[in-house]
Symmetry: C2
Subunit: 402 residues, 2 copies
């Protein structure tokens, strides 16, 4: 298995494009992306758990009912959320216009939006640019598409991996966005995955669900789950491998591991590119009584403003980590709890450890910080990622809409 | 009923003092407070729900078992939390030394600490200053005590109210602290209440629990619940009123309402004095299916960094309010949801309202912002308070320990 270039265009038979249509105010920012497969794909998706759901979430859900898709249209700059019936009709029309331009059935077009909530989509701009978007489609434009789905992201997020299934070379590619409103429980970001493997629907859904749960659902920037976020995967079978099913266990595991690697790479990139972030923080919880407790404990540490500001200040303030764990609802006994920063034990079974302050200072000056928590109660664990909280986060989010 | 001056010394028979002992590094900051009643009091307390509990929480809980107390010793600058057996012995010793100096049984002394977690208490400094602290006790030093319990607070928090029970003048006084680690569910701050009413234990406990639940448990600064926080109340019966019981309903309600007024005043003061805060935000949820949903909805809006930064930026970004409600786990239907900022409707039953941008701009420029959410589903409601999130919060918390 190796990571390769090419993003969503790395797998055979996929084209992409990304252009500026005017939905975003800034004329230098692309805001419209298209991903297209030459053949009809087996498709699956995971959608936000927020009860406020954008029009694109509803429509993509409906279009995915037959588990088939051939194109994904994405815009940034406007979420088309809380826009009522008109918003829903606008999203439907967008899918229809894209379908006509590509000569597909509208139900084969999935749709995704990200940006400001509560403004009607500037439909004339969007519709008028679809011909150009289709015309630009080619097998080297994954990066343009990746750029066009960015909002406050500072870093383009693309990944691809190739490996063999039954002697055949197969490839998975992906692009993603997301640097605010990032919180475990799906939603929280956009991710679009393409692959040329042949795989049946049940196996594709199972792999996507498991991989999202261990990657995108393990990152947090600010604890805010968005109304729009989704991960979609299209598999077009162009690699010609023997179709992967849940019964073909070895092939399925291989595919799942490769998908995990791609999504984990992107998830960590999203956490590290959190709004205003200066450091990636990895929170590894072990010794939890069960999986639910492990996730609760890790998520509460990841979402603590006090922990995140301490790391930003390069301060080994483990008291804030202990306090976050204490309110996390995970089972916890102070006298069994230990906390490490990198490999330095700073809290040992209920007591401050005699940590080397010089070593800690050096560790905390780096741009990736690893916090390990041993609850000492059981065998469950999880690893999650977040970023630090800086003045820049506040500046970005105090100014975003206006 | 009227608010009066005098804080914890306003009720008859209470003395207080506050001095600098050296626990805090800054020589200009008081860090040791004492509240003393001339007579033994009926006492009650509410303690943090955090599973990591400071030594003072454990000891005050034990001392309160017989519902009697006569003194409260409080230090700031060191939480004496996560300090193991030594921390526990230090807290016990503190209570004993105070008891000896005041000629009381140690079990009549309650103890409270706030500050950094995980450092042993500098006991020599603390113990050596207890004689001076006792010597300074008088009936006009509530403010000194209020100052001595502050950490990153910028504003001294004192309140008192007097009213009549059965023709007798009675008084409630209080001091409080807390500007970070403030989150609903008790804990979250320190509050010390004195009163000269005669009241039985059951009535005192019921009133305190109800009032804390509707005041201190309705404020949030950063969603972080602390390991140390508590509210204590001492009632010394010096007013000579007929003893209030749960059966004397009219008197009980009168006392509860007065206590509510005192605690609400302090709670709002804490929210407004949140670390780095520039605005007090009131979040009023109505139309919820039940009380639990109302609290969930209001708390999620109060704890959303994105909502708090938008208010800081004076931006009527109601999409972030809708998104927070959507992830709050409260029952919600987009088409029934309405959102107001002050009296301006900005989201009306699932659609953006045509709000007057000029009026909104004027409202958002003020230092108290009222958000009202009507879920449109039922009859339950709640009001909670928080503050905005500024760059200053990050600066304070990135620098606090070091």
């Amino acid at each position: 298995m190796k990571m390769i270039k090419g993003g969503v265009c790395a797998p055979k038979g996929f084209l992409a494009s990304g252009i500026y249509s005017g939905i975003k105010k800034n004329a230098f920012s692309k805001d419209l992306a298209l991903i297209f497969s030459e053949a009809i794909c087996t498709a699956a998706g995971v959608f936000t758990t927020n009860k406020i759901r954008a029009a694109c979430i509803k429509i993509s859900g409906v279009h995915l009912k037959n588990n088939k898709a051939q194109a994904i249209i994405v815009n940034s700059g406007n979420a088309n959320c809380c826009t009522g019936e008109q918003g829903f009709r606008d999203a439907e029309q967008t899918a229809e216009v894209v379908a006509r331009a590509l000569d597909l059935k509208a139900s084969l077009v999935l749709i995704s939006s990200t940006g400001v909530i509560g403004k009607l989509m500037p439909m004339a701009k969007l519709i008028n640019h679809i011909p150009a978007l289709v015309e630009q489609l080619n097998t080297r434009k994954s990066r343009n598409a990746a750029e066009a789905i960015m909002t406050t992201d500072k870093v383009v997020k693309e990944a691809a991996i190739s490996f063999k299934i039954g002697g055949r070379k197969v490839t998975i590619g992906a692009i993603a966005k997301g640097s605010g409103m990032i919180y475990p429980n799906m939603a929280t970001m956009l991710g679009f995955v393409t692959t040329d493997v042949a795989i049946d629907v049940a196996a594709l859904k199972a792999a996507l669900k498991c991989c999202v749960n261990n990657t995108f659902n393990c990152i947090s920037v600010d604890g805010d789950t968005s109304t729009n976020d989704m991960v979609l995967i299209l598999a077009n079978a162009a690699a010609g491998n023997k179709r992967i099913t849940l019964n073909a266990k070895a092939d399925f595991e291989k595919f799942k591991n490769a998908l995990m690697q791609v999504l984990l790479y992107l998830a960590k990139k999203i956490a590290k590119d959190g709004e205003g972030a200066t450091k990636l923080i990895q929170v590894c919880v072990k010794g939890a009584l069960n999986d639910k407790d492990a996730r609760r404990a890790a998520a509460t540490v990841c979402n603590s403003n006090l922990v995140k500001t301490a790391i930003y200040g390069e301060d080994a303030n483990w008291g804030r980590i202990a306090a976050a764990l204490g309110r996390s609802k995970a089972a916890l006994k102070e006298e069994k709890l230990s906390i490490y920063i990198d490999r330095v034990k700073i809290f040992s079974k209920g007591l401050p450890a005699d940590a080397d302050e010089g070593a800690l200072k050096n560790i905390l000056s780096k741009d990736e910080i690893k916090i390990t928590v041993d609850l000492g109660l059981g065998k469950a664990g999880i690893t999650m990622w977040t970023c630090d909280l800086s003045e820049e986060y506040v500046r970005i989010n105090a100014k975003y809409r206006t």
